[in-house]
């Protein structure tokens, strides 16, 4: 009999919980819904998604799944029964893992010849480049003018005693810009020389913090936190967010210290709506969508001839000669490098 009471409570509880739960996914039956799995930084204006729905009849449902690494790993874990139809945000650091695990199926978008193919990673075109982002060292320009000291410009400058105790970087084990910066130094100095370089950085008082938030908003002097250090590892586009009321940027990206990350989209193998998923890839590469990525995600469109937001040309131009490493080399070396870096820098 006690069980009956218990059941009653259970039923009441479940019903009550059901009542207050939000509407969820109850989309209409007519509109096919394509689930776009992406990373946390994804941001697209609703009106652009709505316009796409109007024109194609496809509703895009966005599912964010952590950062690029976490997203890739979730796609790998669910490849037998994918959680979506199309994925966007696997970047050049993780592309090899996704490809070797067979997460994506081949699809060459008709839009790919407008620029994205420059960044192609595999001959089968399982991944199409959507955007390009460069991780660069940023400096607080006011600090350097105030001190009458020229701002550093190159990797070598960062190890110069003139700039002792001024640089803050992210840990490559815990933050993707940190990893990109480490990869940049490896691309620059090679497998033989990067450790020497980091030894010098360490001697020059580099500070390592765990995440971008802390480095940029707390330790860096050029942004909201007014922290103590005027040199930080961030993005080439970061100065666009630091334009003062006078229209002048307070920070600058050092274009000789950049490492390029390309973000890709692809159709998930084993998804239920392959045709519609392809149309979503086309949409991500379309002029319409590409024009939104800079303002919303602080990255550069992969497509050629897309206008950047006003002022970006002066404040946040796309670096011309960034460092890069082939995706398979990153895949093969990533863990080893991080391990060596830990031993070297954190002893």
């Amino acid at each position: 009999m006690k069980r009956r009471a218990a059941t009653a409570i259970a039923v009441v509880g479940v019903v009550a919980a059901g009542c207050s739960l939000s509407d969820g996914d109850g989309g209409t039956q007519q509109t096919p819904t394509v689930t776009l799995v992406t990373h946390d930084s994804f941001l697209a204006p609703q009106e652009v998604l709505d316009a796409f729905q109007k024109q194609s009849g496809i509703k895009v449902s966005v599912l964010k799944q952590g950062d690029a690494g976490s997203l890739t790993n979730k796609l790998v874990l669910t490849k037998a029964n994918p959680i979506g139809d199309v994925a966007y945000g696997v970047d050049s650091t993780f592309a090899s893992r996704a490809l070797s695990e067979g997460v994506f199926e081949p699809y060459t978008s008709p839009e790919a010849d407008r620029g994205p193919q420059r960044y192609a990673v595999d001959p089968e075109h399982r991944l199409s480049a959507v955007d390009v982002g460069d991780v660069c060292v940023n400096v607080d320009t006011n600090y350097f003018t105030g001190k009458g000291l020229p701002a550093p410009e190159t990797y070598d400058d960062l190890a110069d005693p003139k700039y002792k105790d001024l640089l803050v970087v992210e840990d490559p084990a815990t933050a993707s810009p940190g990893l990109a910066f480490l990869l940049g130094t490896i691309a620059k100095y090679g497998d033989a020389g990067w450790k020497d370089y980091w030894t010098k950085l360490k001697a020059n008082g580099v500070q390592v913090v765990s995440g971008w938030e802390e480095a940029y908003t707390k330790q860096f002097s050029g942004s909201s936190g007014k922290g103590p250090r005027p040199i930080v590892v961030s993005y080439a586009s970061s100065p666009a967010a630091e334009v003062g009321d006078d229209g002048k940027p307070r920070t600058k990206a050092l274009l000789d210290t950049c490492y390029r990350q390309v973000e890709y989209a692809g159709v998930l193998a084993g998804g239920k709506q392959v045709e519609n998923a392809r149309k979503v890839v086309d949409f991500l590469l379309s002029q319409q969508f590409q024009a939104t990525v800079a303002a919303n995600m602080y990255v550069y469109p992969a497509r050629q001839g897309v206008d950047l937001p006003q002022g970006w040309a002066q404040v946040a131009p796309l670096p011309q000669k960034p460092q890069t490493l082939p995706a398979d080399q990153v895949q093969a070396g990533r863990e080893k490098w991080i391990g060596e870096w830990r031993t070297l820098v954190q002893q």
Binding site: M1, K2, A5, A6, I9, A10, G13, A16, A17, S20, L21, S22, G24, D25, T35, D40, S41, F42, L43, P45, V62, K64, G66, D67, G69, S70, T72, N73, K74, V76, L77, T78, N81, I83, G84, R97, D171, A173, T174, V208, V209, S210, G211, E213, E214, Y216, T217, K218, S223, S224, G225, K226, S238, A241, A295, N296, Y298, E335, R342, Q346
Partner: protein, 518 residues
């Protein structure tokens, strides 16, 4: 058996599946044989133990204040002490980082203790308020000094509550993630952060599985110790409640409690200050921005929508956890009272099993969902229902800890008398158990609600961008450049605190007389 079914489907199955993958991948022995793994385990246990000691030492004077002192402001203190519990870890981590720019062991220990003083204070106060003061008076009359009387009479009576709270605090500290990541970087690592890194960044599931097994063992050990200590609880003599003005040396204890409260409030004040300061002076821009989606649409919904969603999700999670937790407690009490030895043993095992969700990494559960829940109808893996489910998993152990002792304390003879007089079991439950336990149930629900409001680990893993909770929105705002976003993040924290304070104040009013025990 419903609670067990729930835990099996939404906890055991995903965890076993993901750890099983690690086993299948092989290499477990390599990780277990690596001395660095054991250093990691040692640091985890050591720092969590240190945090627990700090939290207990800081929590005891506050418990005295809440339980024994009648002074204006004690009610406020009771509410305030819970606020740190719901603060987003990224915010607290950055606050401690501001005080200790180099990070390190000390801020990790202190920050973890900061979150958990409330657990000790409120748990111990719950029992302390009901201790029979006459035993202490008797000891004093026999010539014992106040300190001696405390040591030989009060402290032993409080020991079970202290041990129970310490076990819970230890679990929270040993599995805390954000604090260690922010304050320790990659230099000071714990099992939890290493499980996270290996799973999320490296997809090294066998490494993560090996570490999960070690963490599991540590958690079970803490639970067993806590359980052994709790078993001696019945020794405490319950008497009339006696809060009065402090006298003599008691003022020192009240002073110590005041110092602890001041230390707890400092980061809260710093956070409020940060939410209203801009480079052009004071401004409420961050609060005004809560009606928007942030600078350049950092969020997909407005701050207020996130707050509403937080409330909704926390209500769902609390209801779910209450249903499962109360049912589980009812079963546990029945098993404990059973004359059969096997049944009692089963009860104790089940009691420990119900606590396990506190000790398993959120990332393990989250990745486990990905590889298991597609087998259920409706493919729950990407459902919005997962967030309340996961939060309920975190709250259920707390609900059980709070409800169980109360249910157990219902005098069996009352129930037997009612039955003899012809009442049906349902009627017995309604007339005897429910009135006696209603207030503690409300208190448990309130506490669960507060925990759900602040839950970040599992929620950030499962929440959808169109329906973030406040802590998730704070983290998102923090991860975007722009001063307004930063201020809005702090304003959202302030909002979270406000909701917490209101909820706790309301619950304390409704549940007055209930215990605050875990």
């Amino acid at each position: 058996m419903a609670p067990i079914g729930f835990l099996v489907v939404f906890f055991a199955w995903p965890v076993v599946a993901i750890i099983g993958r690690g086993f299948a991948a092989g290499g477990l022995d390599v990780v277990l044989g690596d001395p660095r793994t054991w250093q990691l385990a040692g640091f985890t246990v050591g720092s969590a133990a240190a945090s627990t000691v700090v939290a207990v030492l800081a929590g005891l004077p506050v418990a005295f204040l809440l339980a024994r002192v009648r002074l204006p402001g004690v009610g406020l203190a009771r509410t305030l002490v819970l606020v740190p519990f719901v603060l987003p870890t990224v915010v607290v981590g950055l606050a401690f980082r501001a005080l200790w720019p180099d990070g390190g062991v000390l801020p990790i220990v202190l920050a973890n203790a900061f979150f958990n003083v409330a657990v000790v204070a409120r748990t111990v106060a719950g029992l302390w308020a009901r201790l029979d003061a006459r035993t202490t008076d008797a000891a004093r009359a026999l010539g014992a000094s106040p300190w001696r009387a405390f040591r030989s009479v009060t402290l032993p009576a409080l020991a079970p509550a202290i041990a129970s709270a310490a076990a819970v605090v230890f679990l929270f500290c040993a599995t805390s993630f954000g604090v260690v990541l922010i304050l320790g970087g990659a230099r000071y690592r714990t099992l939890e952060t290493e499980i996270y890194l290996r799973t999320v960044d490296l997809l090294d599931l066998s490494g993560a599985a090996a570490l999960s097994l070690i963490q599991f063992a540590a958690v079970v050990a803490a639970l067993v110790l806590g359980g052994l200590a709790r078993r001696r609880r019945d020794g405490a003599r319950i008497g009339p409640r006696g809060a009065r003005r402090p006298r003599g040396g008691e003022w020192w204890v009240v002073g110590a409690a005041g110092v602890v409260l001041a230390l707890l409030v400092t980061p809260i004040v710093a956070l409020l200050t940060e939410s209203v300061s801009t480079e052009d002076g004071w401004s409420l821009a961050g609060y005004r921005a809560l009606t928007s989606t942030g600078e350049k649409g950092a969020l997909q919904v407005s701050g207020w929508d996130a707050a509403l969603n937080s409330l909704k999700v926390a209500i769902d999670a609390t209801l779910l956890a209450m249903v499962v937790g109360v049912l589980a407690s009812v079963v546990l009490v029945a098993l404990r009272r059973s004359p059969a030895r096997a049944a009692r043993g089963l009860g104790e095992t089940m009691d420990a099993v119900l606590m396990l969700p506190l000790g398993v990494s959120a990332v393990t559960v989250g990745f486990g969902y990905l590889v298991t829940l597609d087998a259920l109808p409706g493919d729950l893996r990407t459902s919005p229902y997962l967030v309340p489910l996961a939060q309920a998993l975190v709250i259920i152990p707390l609900v059980v800890r709070m409800v169980l002792p109360v249910l157990r304390s219902v005098d069996v003879r009352l129930r037997q008398a009612a039955s003899t007089l012809g009442a049906s079991p349902l009627r017995v439950w309604r007339e005897i158990d429910l009135p006696l336990t209603l207030r503690p149930l409300v208190a448990a629900a309130g506490f669960g609600f507060v925990v759900a409001l602040g839950e970040f680990g599992a929620t950030s893993f499962l929440a959808r961008p169109t329906a973030p909770t406040l802590p998730v929105a704070v983290a998102t705002l923090m991860a975007r450049p722009g001063e307004l976003n930063n201020q809005m993040a702090y304003a959202a924290c302030a909002l979270l605190m406000l909701v917490t304070v209101l909820a706790v104040a309301l619950i304390d009013r409704l549940g007055r007389g209930g215990v605050g025990e875990f």
